[in-house]
């Protein structure tokens, strides 16, 4: 009788799986790196009191009076971080508008990617970069007057 052990576990079982809050923090740092600090990302977390945690990813524009815009929220039970609910009003996440449920890191990253590449988020990010540049951009000095011909 054959005794070969077969792996029945799916490929999504990996030893380097991250929690939603770590994924969001990573994306916050990525935004700062990509925009060379023009924009910052910040993740805040709060307990809902009914056994859930909510993590919120905000974009902050330091040059625009530290204006803050919320991009996405992720909610999950205290103990079991997946499935995580992703909340992004107005954005189609899979089959539903505004929210989706991610059973794994991979699914969550896919949803976050959809939010980041949505028209809504791109408009906010581009607006904030443009307004920051407008406020911090130093126009080049006027050209030196031409020396009169000798």
């Amino acid at each position: 009788m054959a005794t070969t052990k077969r792996n029945l576990w799916p490929e999504s079982v990996k030893i380097d799986t991250l929690t939603p809050v770590v994924i969001l923090r990573g994306q916050a740092s990525e935004l700062e790196r990509l925009t060379k600090g023009v924009l910052r990302g910040e993740v805040t977390s709060q307990a809902t009191g009914d056994g859930f945690l909510i993590h919120q990813l905000d974009v902050i524009a330091p040059a625009v009076g530290f204006y803050r815009h919320r991009i996405v929220e992720v909610k999950h039970p205290d103990a079991f971080v997946y499935p995580a609910q992703i909340i992004a009003p107005g954005i189609l996440l899979g089959l539903t508008f505004g929210h989706g449920e991610a059973e794994s890191q991979e699914a969550l990253e896919k949803f976050i990617g959809i939010v980041f590449t949505s028209k809504q988020t791109i408009s906010v990010i581009q607006s904030l970069i443009a307004r920051s540049n407008e406020l911090t951009f130093a126009p080049p000095p006027p050209p030196e007057p031409l020396e009169s011909a000798k």
């Binding site: 809902t48 909510i54 530290f66 815009h69």
Partner: protein, 274 residues
């Protein structure tokens, strides 16, 4: 802006193009701020209508495509964005009334019971409260007004609960500025809207009328509210639920919001001494 006063009109338009009503409201009440929710029109159209009606030189402030819109006739740069949530259901602005002290203006259109139960609404509000407290701490003052369609009544937990808006009905309690609940300081709001319930007051008994077969139906609701931090509550000199735009009625023959002619919500007008 009238000397030492600032006037505000808030209205949930129910997605209708009520431009002329808005212009008349702004003109009649000499509004310095026109705050709108459920506005399906492009802000430029509203701006044009307001400016054509000689209601003042209004401009739109903030980000397009949001759920709440802020127009003002204060000079540009007087209204500074501090926070917006994903869809602009919550927007927090710093308003500068140079030389008078500025205020923090929070305009909201919170989720309704069709999308969220009472607990969900309350949780949503705790997040708003945290965002607001952060802005108050950053700016170093609490001269804050919160106005909008809360989609909750003053007696709902998302409005009066200590960890939510903590909005109480009397100045006497609000003047304590905060209460400690479970070891945490919870800042009070004063909610003057309580005085509009019922028919023994002047004006309509609410801002929104709803009828259903539920045994707990209130019929009249005050979903549209103005809340003030204690520091500002004595600056409120006028507050009304409006039944007309100054010329035309916004209510039907039964005194209920005229859904056919206007919105299913009635507008609010208030004036603050600066």
């Amino acid at each position: 802006m009238s000397l030492g006063m600032a006037s505000f009109v808030f209205w949930n338009l129910s997605g209708k193009p009520l431009h002329d009503h808005i212009a008349r409201l702004a003109k009649t009440h000499e509004a310095d701020f026109v705050l709108l929710a459920e506005c399906a029109s492009d802000p430029t159209q509203i701006e044009d209508t307001l400016n054509r009606a000689n209601a003042g030189e209004f401009h739109f402030t903030g980000i397009r495509g949001m759920k709440t819109l802020v127009f003002t006739r204060l000079k540009k740069g007087s209204v500074v964005d501090k926070f917006d949530d994903q869809m602009g259901r919550v927007t927090i602005r710093e308003v500068r009334f140079d030389p008078a002290p500025g205020i923090i203006l929070v305009v909201v259109h919170l989720l309704d019971r069709r999308n969220l139960d009472a607990i969900g609404q309350a949780i949503h509000v705790t997040s708003l409260v945290r965002d607001l407290c952060r802005v108050e701490d950053e700016l170093g003052h609490r001269r804050t007004i919160l106005v909008g369609d809360l989609n909750m009544n003053p007696f709902d937990v998302g409005v009066f609960g200590a960890e939510t808006l903590n909005a109480v009905s009397t100045r006497d309690i609000a003047q304590r500025h905060k209460r400690t609940f479970q070891g945490a300081d919870c800042r009070f709001f004063y909610n003057p809207m309580w005085c509009f319930f019922g028919d023994r007051t002047s004006g309509p008994p609410g801002t929104f009328f709803h009828r259903s077969p539920n045994s707990t139906e209130h019929y009249w609701n005050i979903l549209d509210q103005v809340l003030l931090r204690p520091t500002l509550m004595d600056n409120l000199v006028d507050l009304k639920i409006l039944e007309t735009d100054g010329t035309l009625p916004l209510v039907d023959t039964n005194g209920r919001p005229s859904v056919a002619e206007a919105s299913d919500h009635l507008p609010l007008f208030f004036r603050l001494k600066l």
